[in-house]
Every structure is written in C-alpha cells, then in structure tokens.
C-alpha cells in the first residue's frame, strides 16, 4: 500500500529483512527447489542455441537419416520421427512454453485490471455491465473457451496466447475489483478526489498500483496452469504451427510411437511440461502462503 511504502523505505533493511515475504519464502526448501527448476528452464530457453550442437534441428530443420534413434551419447534424449535431436527440441520448446505462459498471464492481467478497476472505481451501472460481462466469460469451462477462440482465429503462437488470455482475464478482473472497492473508501483516495485530481490519474497512478499485489500473487500461481492449458491446446492441434518446437505437439507426434517402444519423444516432452508446471504451481503455493499472514510460517 502506498501509504505504507515510505515507512518501509525508512526501515531500510531491504528485501531479506526477517519477517518479510521474501524472507519467509527462502525458508521453504520446496519453494527454493521449484525456483531453481524454473531458473534452469529459463536459462535453457534463453541460451538454447548455444547449449546444443543441434540448434537448427531445434528450430525445425529435419535430419532424416538419423530418425527415431534412442537416447545415446550423441543424442541424450534420442531423435524424433524427422531425425531431430529431442533435447534440442525440448530446449527450443521451453522458449515457446515460457513465452506463452508469460504472454497469457500478462495479457490477461492487463485486460482484467483495466476492466476490474474501472468497474470497482466507478460503480453503478458501469460496474453492473462490466461484472455481468465478466460472469458470462467465467461461465465457460476455461479450456473450451480457449478452444473456440483458437479455432476461430486459426492456429498460431500469438493466437494461442490470445485464446487463453480471453478465458482468463475475468479472474483478475474480479480480484482487482474487490481490491479497488475497498481502496475507493480510503482517505487518501477521497483526498485526491476532493482536490480535483482527474479520475484517470487517481485510478492509474494511485488506486491500481496499490491494488496489484494480490493480483501478482494470483498471476504467479497461474503460470503453471497456463503452461498446461497451452500444452493441451497444442496437443489437439490448436497451438503453434510446425516447425516451431512445442512440447504439446511433441507429445501428440510421439503418441503412436510410444506404444511401439519409441517412448522418448512423448516421454521427455511430457516430463518437461510436468516439471515446469509443478515448479510454477509450487512457487505459487509458497508465495500464497508467505503473503497471507494467516498461513505464514506454517511450514
């Protein structure tokens, strides 16, 4: 909260001050392990071209002579049906997965925050209309709304992000609205209104920044679900088009091969999705715990 912030700076003992959320976070070994897993995947995604000798295969160039080889010293995770190194595909797939996860959450937060804050701040019929709209979007099972939007827009990386974000913004809208409703009554907001600061400025500079922290907690917790939903969409063919490396597509491609003994394509791709989703979900859980005074320090 803004009126608390200066006091915090005055205390001036930084992020790792005992009793701060970050301090509590560092005490959770599961949270730290999850953060390390995410860090590994982020580094893998960033430096993918330098980490593998098969960078162009990672980008999609086939190498037919060496197709469907099992894991070996030259191909640690084997090769796929087009002869591409699976590890390289996983590394480049990490770029897709993280890009989609972060893209979805950012876009959904941006839309949700604007709609929720406007609804909460202005109230009345604006609130009524926007919230009924939000409820309607919430009435769809999330994956299905993403499916029809992706089908309508056509399959591509960008459209995957849009499709999932369309089904997600309502959660943030509701959350920020609740925050704004309570902030609206605070003296500092009423003081700003009294001296004639325009609503836009109050909302954008003073109300929204103060309402964001629970939204960021929620957004962190949602990164894992976003990875899973994106993988589901690409599994059914509504994700990025080939030759873009994508874990969901890899599982779909490797699906028939698994039963005939070539387990490594779908096997490693699924393990990558599970690891990243699990790590994000664990981080989300720990962050939720340490930011909630009720559960803080229960572990």
């Amino acid at each position: 909260m803004a009126e608390i912030k200066p006091a915090r700076r005055f205390m001036g003992t930084g992020m790792m001050r005992p009793g701060s959320s970050a301090w509590y976070y560092r005490r959770s070994w599961l949270g730290m392990a999850a953060a390390i897993v995410v860090l590994i995947f982020v580094l893998g995604a960033l430096f993918a071209p330098w980490l593998t000798p098969y960078a162009d295969q990672g980008r999609g160039v086939p190498d037919l002579p060496s197709r469907l080889q099992g894991p070996s010293w030259s191909h640690w995770m084997g090769t796929d049906d087009l002869g591409r190194d699976v590890l390289a595909r996983i590394l480049f797939g990490a770029r897709t997965a993280l890009l989609v996860a972060i893209g979805v959450v950012t876009l959904a937060v941006a839309v949700g925050v604007v709609i929720g804050a406007v609804a909460g701040y202005f109230g009345g019929w604006v609130d009524e209309v926007l919230m009924r709209l939000t409820d309607t979007f919430l009435a769809f099972p999330p994956l299905l709304l993403a499916v029809i939007v992706a089908a309508a827009l056509g399959a591509s990386l960008q459209n995957t992000i849009i499709a999932i974000a369309v089904s997600w913004w309502p959660w943030y809208a509701r959350q920020i609205r609740a925050q704004v409703l309570s902030l609206r009554e605070r003296p500092f907001v009423q003081a700003l209104q009294a001296i004639g600061v325009p609503s836009r400025t109050i909302l954008g500079r003073h109300v929204i920044p103060n309402a964001m922290s629970p939204v960021w907690v929620q957004a962190t917790a949602d990164l894992g679900a976003s990875v899973l939903i994106a993988a589901g969409l690409s599994f059914v063919g509504l994700g990025p088009r080939p030759p873009t490396a994508d874990w969901g597509v890899m599982i779909n491609d490797g699906r028939q091969l698994v039963l005939s003994g070539q387990w490594w394509i779908a096997g490693f791709a699924g393990a990558a999705i599970t690891l990243v989703a699990l790590a994000f979900n664990l981080i989300g859980d720990v962050v939720r715990d340490v930011t909630d005074p009720k559960t803080r320090g229960s572990e």
């Binding site: 599961l30 009924r132 709209l133 409820d135 309607t136 979007f137 009435a139 769809f140 099972p141 999330p142 994956l143 299905l144 709304l145 499916v147 029809i148 939007v149 089908a151 309508a152 827009l153 894992g224 679900a225 899973l228 993988a231 589901g232 599994f235 059914v236 063919g237 509504l238 969901g248 599982i251 779909n252 699906r255 698994v258 039963l259 387990w263 779908a266 791709a269 699924g270 999705i273 599970t274 989703a277 699990l278 979900n281 664990l282 859980d285 229960s298 572990e299």
Partner: protein
C-alpha cells in the same frame, strides 16, 4: 424463495450471454466465417453456398436473431464433414462423457475428502506436506501425458487393462441408458459389467487426478478454518474422540462451502474429457470435439462448446440452490 428466483433469472442472462459470446466468436472474430463454416478443403463455390445458407451477408443483428431462433428450436446446425445434425450427434455422444465425468468426480471426492481432512488435522507436519505435495503434483501433470504413461504400463506392457474404447469388440448388449455401467448391469451378465469396468479404469483414474488435487486443497483449507472454531475446542475439552471430531463434527461444516468444488470438478472433468477421450479413443463428447478440431469442423466446435457450457451453467445453478438449502445464510446475504 427470492434467492431461488434471483438465481434463476441470472442464470438465464448468463446463458444468453454465453450464446452471444459464442455467436461473436463464430461470426465476428473470424476474418471469413463462411470459409470456416465450409471447412478447410471447400471450393469457392461451396463457400459461397454456405455464405448464402447461413445468410452471412445479412447485417449482424438479423444474423443474431436467426441464430437465437435456430437455437430455440434446438437446431445447432450441421457438421460440414459428416453432414449430420449436430444436435443428434451430441445427444448420442453425451452419455459416454457423462459416465466418465460422474465416475471420475465420485472417485476424486471419495479419495480427496479424507486426504484433505488428514492434511488439515496434521497441519504443518510431515503427513500434511506429503499430501500437499501429492495434490500439487496431481494438478501439474498434463492429462494426455499421464494417460499415455498408464496406457503404456497397464495396457501395453503388463496387459492388465484394455488399451482403449468403452467395451471389447466381442462384447455387446442393449444400451437403453447409454451409461454402460447401468446397461451392463441390466443385461444381467457379470462378465459384461467387468468388461465395462476394466475399460473405465484408466480413463477415470487419469481424469480424476486434477479434481483430486483441487478437492484436497479446498477441503484442507475449509477444514483448517472450521477446526479453529470454538465448538471444536469445546468438543476436545469434552474428550470426544478425535475421529468423531474430525469426520462428524468438523467435516459436516467444512463440506457445505466445499460444495462449489463439485461444480469446478465437473467443469474440469468436461474440459479434460476432450484430451482424455482423444487418448483412450472414448466415444464421447470430448472425442467428438477433438475430431472436429482436427478436421477444423467449425460448426461442430462452436455448437459442442455451447452445449457443454450450458450444461455446466445448469450444474452450477443446481449446486448453488442445493448449497442455499443446506446453508440458509447463503440465501439471506
């Protein structure tokens, strides 16, 4: 009573809103709806034909009115791939999904509720951590991957369970309800029932994983709140056995708010149905939808989504009304 009425009215508006969004997504969002409705391999003349049939050149308002009119007559359009009526297709695929979703929901509740209670009663201890880690893991594994792993292990390697489908090809019996568990019982043959159960096992286990994680979390959360209440302390002082306190006194109050998870569970079952059914070749709504997605059969995709969403809204309505009945505070607020 006023609460029931208000809830009914909002549900009607939500359904109207859902229809409107589906209309917008199918007619306004695509750059050329006619091309989508005609399918990816349609010739220009066919696209033109579809444009005329669906009156896509009319103003949006009159298109919308027509769309509402068709829906109110139960006309969901035709699949361009099979030329069959989507409404009757959906009807014939629904029972298979319903059976899967119901059994999976039941399984996740039966396993999840006790685990949530255990975690809450041992809060912060080792058993709590193990259950919570299990819960997080079960919501982190993509269903289509766990489905594949279980298929590989139990069907392909060990041969204990069938690979896919709802029944063996050699087995057949009358299907008056479409729910094969019931139908096979009605057929009076235990071997039929066994065949159905073995086919159900893997898909149900896969599908129950996600709702299981949700159930554990929610029950744990609401149990922790209830366990902190004075009446529980009074019960402890009165030396009522811990089991009675947990499962009789506390759980009863922890369950009412957790009723909402039934709705969530159902939503997730139906959402994941379409991934699970694809892997297990399960002839339900989900498989119908995935097949449509693969063929880019747009009329089917939008109609199936609309129907599933309406079912979902109605289920939630039912649960809310039930919740209000169980907990009078809900309807007074």
């Amino acid at each position: 009573m006023r609460y029931v009425l208000r809830r009914l009215v909002t549900s009607v508006f939500v359904i109207l809103g859902v229809v409107t969004i589906t209309f917008a997504v199918s007619r306004v969002v695509p750059s050329d709806p006619a091309a989508l409705y005609a399918g990816p391999r349609a010739r220009p003349a066919q696209v033109e034909q579809v444009r005329q049939d669906l009156k896509l050149d009319d103003p949006l308002i009159s298109q919308y009115v027509n769309y509402l009119g068709d829906l109110s007559r139960g006309d969901l359009g035709v699949s361009f791939a099979t030329r069959r009526s989507i409404a009757s297709d959906l009807g014939s695929f629904l029972p298979a999904t319903l059976e899967l979703a119901l059994v999976a929901t039941a399984l996740s509740m039966i396993v999840g509720i006790p685990l949530g209670v255990i975690a809450a009663s041992r809060r912060g201890r080792r058993r709590d951590s193990i259950v919570r880690l299990g819960a997080v893991t079960s919501v982190s594994i993509p269903v289509f991957w766990s489905a594949l792993l279980l298929q590989l292990l139990f069907a392909s390697k060990l041969g204990w369970l069938p690979l896919s489908g709802r029944t063996s090809s050699s087995v057949s019996f009358a299907e008056p309800t479409g729910l094969l568990l019931v139908d096979s019982l009605l057929s009076g043959s235990l071997s039929n029932l066994w065949d159905v159960i073995t086919h159900l096992t893997l898909p149900v286990v896969v599908m129950a994983a996600y709702p299981l994680g949700l159930t554990i979390r929610l029950i744990r959360g609401s149990m922790i709140e209830v366990l902190a209440e004075p009446y529980i302390e009074a019960a402890r002082v009165a030396q009522i056995p811990e089991r009675t306190i947990l499962y009789r006194l506390a759980l009863k109050n922890a369950l009412a708010p957790a009723l909402t998870i039934l709705g969530l569970t159902f939503a997730y079952s139906i959402s994941s149905a379409f991934l699970v059914e694809a892997v297990f070749n399960w002839p339900g709504l989900g498989k119908y939808l995935t097949d449509a997605i693969v063929r880019v059969d747009f009329p089917v995709i939008t109609a199936a989504t609309l129907v599933i969403t309406v079912i979902y809204v109605l289920v939630n309505l039912g649960l809310d009304l039930l919740h209000a009945r169980l907990d009078p505070r809900v309807s007074q607020s």
